[in-house]
Amino acid sequence: MSGQPSASARAADTPSTGVEADARSPQQRFLGLSRRRQFTLIEELLLTRSGELLRAYPCLLAVGHGFRRRRTHAGDGDGVGEIVTAERCVLFLVRRKWKRRGSQLRRLPAHLYCHDLVRGRRTLLAIPTDVSESRPLQANASPEAVDVADRVAHGVLTCLVDCALADGTRERRALSCRHVLSLTGIRSPEPNSVPVRHNGALIGDTLAIRGELSATDPAGFDAQAMRVSTPAAANRCVFTAIWPRGHVSHGGEFEASMWLQLPRDDGAIRVNYRGVWPVMRVSYGSGAARFVASVGPLVEVELVGNQKTLPGDSGSPLVIGYSKPRLAGMHIAGNPDDGNGRALSYCIPAYALMDPGNYAGADGEQWTLPQD
């Protein structure tokens, strides 16, 4: 990691005294746990200590979880930069990394301590941390794919979803970003229902089933449902010919490498998972309707190679697997440069996307991804 607080300069938070028979260090003990157990402990720590950490360190903007990154050097053949390791960690989001050593008080901890029962023994563990720098995020709505209401404000349909409604009936819908289907930041006030087309063919119409998204909402949710009236037209939107089936049900199921299915000839783009943030600031639209919203949760992934997300990519599915894709998230915003020349994509995690509780107007519904 570059600048401060760097791993070497950061101090560890104060551990409580533990009596352990295991001779390994608390760091090594944590690394020796199963992936699922590591994730459970990190989630528990975030749930109980995020508020305290944000109060303790004024430089902190958010606390999330993901994989640690390490610096690569010229000798690695890839120039100087960063690689994502397989080491799970707590992520700290700061406005700026320090260029020089700061005072002891301002240093973020290199590890956060917790206890677990390992083979029946109370064991002190040290969860590693890593620091990310905050960058402006722009929601991408524009060209090709799904035409919304005859306007040149476009995006991609993420997935089909079978909805069991509160009255016992079923309806097939599709999901995409609210800023795609409601022209958020482009048209004010946003329309409640508009026809959605693909290459001029009607797919269906948008529903007022959508997440809250405004400059004042503390945690906006940029997703919306539409009714599919012409399934054949909807199917022509899929760039790999297969809609996602099954989805990631919690943050521990993300793979280190996944695919972002962008609406281009080169299609699936390799991405490396970096972490999940509870809330990020995202800029929507342009001109008079432009606003900045707090949106979350968001998965951060890094695009491999020289790829970048573009306007019109919004709604692109983040998937695990290619021929039988499992939905991991929905792309809503991008950042062309993380400071090391890598482009980033920010996606709503699939487990949040598939939760009707995150949408106004979906009370009492149950959603599943279709299997046919």
């Binding site: 490498s257 695919w259 080169d266 390799r270 695990i320 697997g321 290619y322 021929s323 499992r326």
Partner: protein, 83 residues
């Protein structure tokens, strides 16, 4: 892209790769007509109960930054697992 260059890239990127958290380890790849055989270390075969999980794991693989399945399809090749 030729069959030879794809097999070479597969060996480089996925040779020695662990499957199912190390239960199986890839030894290498061999081509027989239009089939690419994936060989496991120690001549191991996949248990029937693990097949779907291994297939799902391999479905997420990339070769030369593109999906492996897409690369195989382009060359009209089929991946065969040791069952």
């Amino acid at each position: 892209m030729t069959v030879e260059s794809l097999i070479s890239a597969l060996a480089k990127e996925h040779g020695n790769q662990a499957l199912l958290a190390g239960k199986y380890v890839v030894a290498g790849f061999a081509v027989k007509s239009n089939e690419v055989m994936l060989n496991l270390k120690d001549g191991k075969k996949l248990d029937a109960a693990d097949l779907a999980k291994v297939e799902a794991e391999i479905d997420n693989w990339s070769v030369l930054e593109r999906p492996m399945k897409q690369q195989l399809d382009d060359l009209k090749l089929v991946l065969v697992l040791p069952k």
